[in-house]
C-alpha cells in the first residue's frame, strides 16, 4: 500500500481492532523455527503478533498476555514438556480470572496427548505439516467475539 492509499485509509484506521496474538516458547526449548514461521503467517494475515521469544516461564507468559491485552496466546513447544508446562499456563490464566483468551499450541505433540491438553484449556493443536492457513482461520473463527468488538 502506498503512502496516499495509507492516508486514504486513515479514517477507517481510527476505529479499528486487530487480533493481537502473543506467541511464546515455554520452557527450555530452543526450536524456534516453527514459532517464527507462525509469527510471520499471522502477521501476513493482518494480525498483530507479539513474539516474546525463548525460555518463557508460565508466569512470564501469563504476565505478558495481560500486559499486551492479547486476544490469543500461541504456544510453540517441541521439547516434550507440554504435559507439564501447558496446563500450568492455563491454570495461571484462570487463577487470574482470564477466561476470554484463546490458547492454541503448535510443535511436536503426540496425538495421544491431544485429549489431555484439550481437557486442560488448550483449544487447538497444530502439528508439523498443518497448513498455516488452518491456524489462521481457526484463530479468526474462534477468538472471543466480545474481545474483537
Amino acid at each position: 500500500m502506498e503512502f496516499g492509499e495509507r492516508n486514504a485509509c486513515l479514517h477507517e484506521e481510527l476505529i479499528m481492532k486487530r487480533i493481537k496474538v502473543l506467541v511464546a516458547k515455554p520452557g527450555l526449548d530452543g526450536h524456534d523455527r516453527g514459532a517464527k514461521v507462525i509469527c510471520r503467517a499471522l502477521r501476513d494475515a493482518g494480525m498483530e503478533v507479539v513474539y516474546s521469544g525463548l525460555e518463557q516461564t508460565p508466569e512470564q507468559i501469563v504476565n505478558a498476555a495481560i500486559q499486551e491485552d492479547a486476544d490469543v496466546i500461541g504456544l510453540s513447544i517441541l521439547s516434550g514438556a507440554h504435559r507439564v508446562i501447558l496446563p500450568t499456563v492455563t491454570k495461571l490464566l484462570s487463577e487470574k480470572g482470564i477466561t476470554d483468551v484463546l490458547v492454541v499450541v503448535g510443535g511436536i505433540i503426540p496425538t495421544d496427548d491431544h485429549l489431555f491438553l484439550k481437557q486442560h484449556g488448550i483449544s487447538a493443536i497444530f502439528g508439523p505439516g498443518t497448513p498455516l492457513k488452518n491456524a489462521v482461520e481457526y484463530i479468526r473463527e474462534n477468538v472471543s467475539k466480545e474481545r474483537i468488538h
Binding site: 502506498e2 492516508n7 481510527l14 513474539y51 516474546s52 505478558a64 500486559q67 491485552d69 480470572g97
Partner: protein, 321 residues
C-alpha cells in the same frame, strides 16, 4: 466493562483496567477522547523518556537494562515499544519483547508492544494516550518509549518525551553523517551502545566532534552528553541512569513556562491534525461527487489538486452552515 469503570480501576492501579484502556485508545479514537478527558488532569507525574535510533543498535536491549537498573533503585517503570505495521497486510510483528525477557514479570515493570498502524514518524497515533494512561495510573515513576527506529523521521518523539535518548552503535559512521540534519538535534543524551566492540571509541569521538561542530552542545542550557553502554556486558547503565536523572533535575529547575507551553502546543497540533484528517477524509468519502471525481482522475479529465479543491470547497460550505 464500560470505560468509566475501567478508569476507576486505573486510578486504583488495577493492571487489567490499565491494559484494557490502552487497547481501547488504540482501537477507537472516539473513546480515546472520552478517556483523555478524565485522565488528563492526573498526568504529568511520570518522567517520559524517549529512546530512538537506527534499527538494530540495541534500543530494546538497553531499555531492558535501564529498566532493571532503575527498578533496583525502587522505581516503577512503564515501557511502550513501538514497531511498524506492515503496509501490505496491516499486521505487525512486534519483537521488542524478545530483548526484554529479563524484566518480563518483574514487579513494578510493565511492557506494552504497539504497532504503528500506518502512522509515520516512529510512533503510533495512540502512543501519547498510552503514555498518559500509564502516567495517570500513578503507579509509574517513568515511562520509557522505544520508537520504531526509522532513523530519519523521529522528531515526533520530541513532543512526547521529556528526555530524548538517541542510541547509536559502532560502525554507523555514514549513518551518523546522514542523520545530523534532523535527528541529532532532538537528543538530550547520546548513547553509544555495544561499546564492548573495539570500534566504539571511534564512534564516541566522531559523535563528540560532531556535537562541537554542529553547535549542538548547548540546548536551552542543557549540555548534551555522550554515554557509552553495553547491554550485553551491562556496563555504562548506571552512568546513563545518572545522566537521565540529571536531565530530569535540570528540567525541574527550569523556571520558564516556555518548555511546557511548547510541548502542549505540539500536543495540541498533533491532535488537531488527527482530528482534521479524520473528519476531512470521512466527509470527502461521504461527498456525492467523490466517486465521480475518482473516475475523472483516472480518465485524466481532472488532476488531484483540482479534485481536492472541489471537495474542500464543498466541505467549507457545509461547515459554515
Amino acid at each position: 466493562m464500560d470505560v468509566q469503570t475501567l478508569i476507576d480501576g486505573l486510578f486504583k492501579g488495577d493492571i487489567i483496567s490499565t491494559t484494557r484502556l490502552i487497547s481501547i485508545i488504540e482501537n477507537d479514537f472516539l473513546k480515546a477522547e472520552e478517556i483523555s478527558r478524565r485522565i488528563y488532569p492526573h498526568t504529568g507525574n511520570a518522567h517520559v523518556l524517549g529512546i530512538t535510533g537506527p534499527p538494530g543498535v540495541g534500543k530494546s536491549s538497553l531499555v531492558n537494562k535501564l529498566a532493571l537498573e532503575w527498578n533496583k533503585k525502587g522505581k516503577n517503570i512503564g515501557i511502550i515499544a513501538v514497531d511498524p505495521s506492515s503496509p501490505y497486510s496491516g499486521g505487525a510483528l512486534l519483537g521488542d519483547r524478545i530483548r526484554m525477557r529479563e524484566i518480563t514479570g518483574i514487579k513494578g515493570i510493565f511492557i506494552r508492544s504497539m504497532a504503528t498502524r500506518g502512522s509515520l514518524g516512529g510512533l503510533a497515533r495512540a502512543t501519547r494516550d498510552a503514555i498518559n494512561i500509564l502516567d495517570a495510573s500513578g503507579v509509574y515513576d517513568a515511562v520509557i518509549v522505544e520508537t520504531v527506529g526509522a532513523g530519519q523521521s523521529e522528531v515526533q518523539i520530541m513532543s512526547i518525551a521529556k528526555t530524548v535518548i538517541l542510541v547509536l552503535s559502532p560502525g554507523l559512521g555514514d549513518e551518523i553523517q546522514a542523520m545530523k540534519a534532523g535527528t541529532m538535534e532532538i537528543a538530550d543524551i547520546f548513547v553509544v551502545n555495544k561499546s564492548d566492540k573495539p570500534e566504539a571509541l571511534e564512534t564516541v569521538n566522531d559523535l563528540e566532534r560532531m556535537l562541537d561542530y554542529e553547535g549542538l552542545n548547548e540546548k536551552a542550557g542543557w549540555q548534551p552528553v555522550v554515554v557509552s553502554t553495553s547491554s550485553t556486558m551491562n556496563t555504562g547503565i548506571d552512568e546513563l541512569v545518572t545522566k537521565i536523572e540529571e536531565h530530569q533535575a535540570f528540567l525541574a529547575g527550569m523556571t520558564s513556562e516556555k518548555l511546557h507551553e511548547k510541548r502542549a502546543a505540539m500536543e495540541l497540533i498533533d491532535t488537531l491534525i488527527t482530528k482534521i484528517e479524520n473528519e476531512a477524509i470521512k466527509k470527502a468519502k461521504e461527498s456525492p461527487v467523490y466517486n465521480e471525481l475518482v473516475k475523472k482522475i483516472v480518465e485524466k479529465k481532472i488532476d488531484p489538486y483540482q479534485a481536492a479543491d472541489i471537495i474542500l470547497k464543498e466541505y467549507m460550505q457545509l461547515s459554515r452552515q
